[in-house]
């Protein structure tokens, strides 16, 4: 009877199940030009606005003049985190909009496999979304973010995971409270922007706000970016703190998501997905 089922069908983690979810989203993406456009549209607009502002500031500010492109770099890196969050949350919301989540959770798909698939989809969406603006920055402003070299990978990785944390937290809330909570996918992450030190050093924040800022990974990433651009130094200490905080937050948020899956099973939320 089950001759067609592979031996790993019952395993705790199976790549084919993760692959199935990724394939499901790639199928949707490739037939929907608005989804493709949306990925690159906002990062490009942001980069254009801040790029021209940066050109103006370069002539009027000694701080920005010390490291031309610091604002453009900040915009692009902030977009990594924003897109990582959105890429994660949107892939989850696609299942809600299609009222397909219940169907998925009665297959052998495990919740942690779903999380891995959403993270990979987020990586794909973020990469596709940020490639065009990063190339436009080279063309328009002669700012090549890839000149950051290996530190860029470190920043990218930390910001991706930070974005996943926000996206997974949003997904857990949407699972519990329904599509009424979907706007959190867009707005929640902006709460982190003022304390992430994207466009200014954390040092200018009031002291009590600094301690909040340093409890979040992005603050260390943007401080690290400025260290590379101003001092040409990669701060391993900042990288390590961001990575450690990311590990802690991602573990906590994953546990929260798994708890919400259980709550959904108790309350019958998989049967009645919607507003």
């Amino acid at each position: 009877m089950i001759g067609r089922l592979s031996a790993v069908a019952q395993s705790r983690f199976a790549g084919h199940r993760v692959g199935a979810i990724i394939l499901r989203h790639l199928y949707v993406m490739r037939t929907s030009w608005p989804r493709m456009l949306e990925m690159a549209y906002w990062p490009t607009i942001q980069m254009l606005v801040w790029g021209f502002a940066s050109q103006f500031f370069r002539e009027h500010s000694t701080w920005v003049a010390q490291a031309a492109g610091v604002l453009i770099g900040a915009v692009l890196l902030w977009e990594v985190m924003f897109r990582a969050n959105l890429g994660f949350a949107l892939s989850f919301l696609e299942e809600m909009w299609a009222r397909n989540l219940g169907q998925l959770y009665l297959t052998p798909l495990r919740p942690h496999e779903h999380v891995v698939a959403l993270a990979i989809m987020s990586l794909i969406r973020t990469t596709l979304g940020l490639l065009p603006p990063s190339l436009i920055a080279i063309w328009l402003y002669a700012f090549n973010i890839y000149d950051l070299g290996l530190p860029l990978l470190a920043f990218f990785a930390n910001l991706m995971v930070a974005g996943w944390c926000v996206g997974l937290f949003t997904a857990a809330l949407v699972l519990r409270f329904g599509l009424g909570a979907e706007s959190l996918a867009w707005v929640l992450i902006f709460g982190l922007a003022p304390i992430s030190g994207i466009y200014y050093p954390i040092g200018i924040l009031p002291e009590w706000v600094q301690s909040i800022a340093y409890s979040m990974p992005p603050a260390y990433v943007f401080e690290g970016m400025r260290a590379v651009m101003f001092d040409h130094t990669f701060r391993w200490d900042l990288f390590a703190r961001a990575a450690a905080l990311n590990a802690a937050y991602f573990s906590a948020v994953t546990a929260f998501f798994l708890y919400m899956v259980r709550v959904a099973r108790v309350k019958g939320l998989f049967l009645n997905m919607g507003e």
Partner: protein, 249 residues
């Protein structure tokens, strides 16, 4: 075939706050048996099926499918061997029929998925629609795609929630005939929730009628008709549905 029931449910209870949706339900379905689950709206059929699928946790009671407890992580051992179809549950509407079946085939870890899809498309007359997005399908076509999804993994346990609702008589008959053949040839245990009495009489050897979360009557269609002094299952159903609580049992 083994002596172990494909589905074994004991003292199943589901409360939503103060409301008891399922109240001490117990039954077993043997491998190869097709059992009907009848009941009016709100009788507890969908809640019961959802608990059998592991999508809903019971307040108390036990559910074992193919010997595995569906209330904990053991269910992942049996989920590849069971499936579900309902016209009320959507498939991603932007994906084509083939893409939908491919994604679900991968989720079930089916080897040779393309061949299996071709086989089901031929059996369920879906070949012309494989490249059609799910949103463009008619009700009958969607029902057949949902059924194809449910049969992808050649399930040993199949749960069906009104599989022929909103179908024209011809398509309904086609689906019933297919299910009849599948159950006979595969030895699959099927639990069929339906409002269609003719469908239940045709497909099911045994019937359970639910009311207010409880099983109020159980037996073959002929047994039930005789017990209630009626000529048809529909009359039995109406007697139970309209009877005061104490008289129905």
């Amino acid at each position: 075939m083994t002596d172990l029931p494909a589905i074994a449910v004991t003292d199943l209870v589901k409360d939503y706050g103060d409301v008891r949706a399922v109240d001490g339900v117990g039954f077993a379905v043997a491998p190869g048996e097709v059992v009907g689950l009848l009941g009016g709206n709100g009788a507890g059929k969908t809640t019961t099926i959802s608990m059998l699928l592991g999508l809903l946790l019971p307040t108390s009671g036990t559910i074992r499918v193919l010997g595995h407890d569906m209330t904990n992580a053991e269910r992942f051992a049996v989920l590849p061997r069971m499936n579900f179809a309902s016209p009320y549950v959507n498939l991603p509407y932007r994906l084509t029929v083939f893409q939908n079946l491919k994604v679900y085939g991968l989720l079930y870890g089916i080897r040779g998925i393309d061949n299996r899809i071709a086989e089901l498309a031929r059996d369920l007359d879906l070949e012309p629609y494989l490249k059609t997005p799910a949103r463009k399908l008619s009700s009958g076509q969607k029902t057949r795609v949902t059924l194809a999804k449910a049969l992808l993994n050649q399930p040993e346990v199949l749960l069906l929630d009104e599989p022929t609702a909103s179908l024209d008589p011809d398509t309904g008959d086609f689906v019933r005939a297919y299910l009849e053949t599948y159950a006979r040839d595969s030895g699959c245990a099927i639990l069929l929730a339906s409002h269609n009495m003719q469908e239940v009489e045709r497909l099911c050897r045994r019937i359970m009628i639910m009311k207010r979360g409880r099983i109020h009557a159980e037996g073959t269609p002929a047994d039930l008709a005789r017990r209630f002094g009626r000529d048809s299952l529909e009359q039995v159903f109406l007697d139970i549905a309209r009877a005061p609580e104490e008289a129905a049992s």
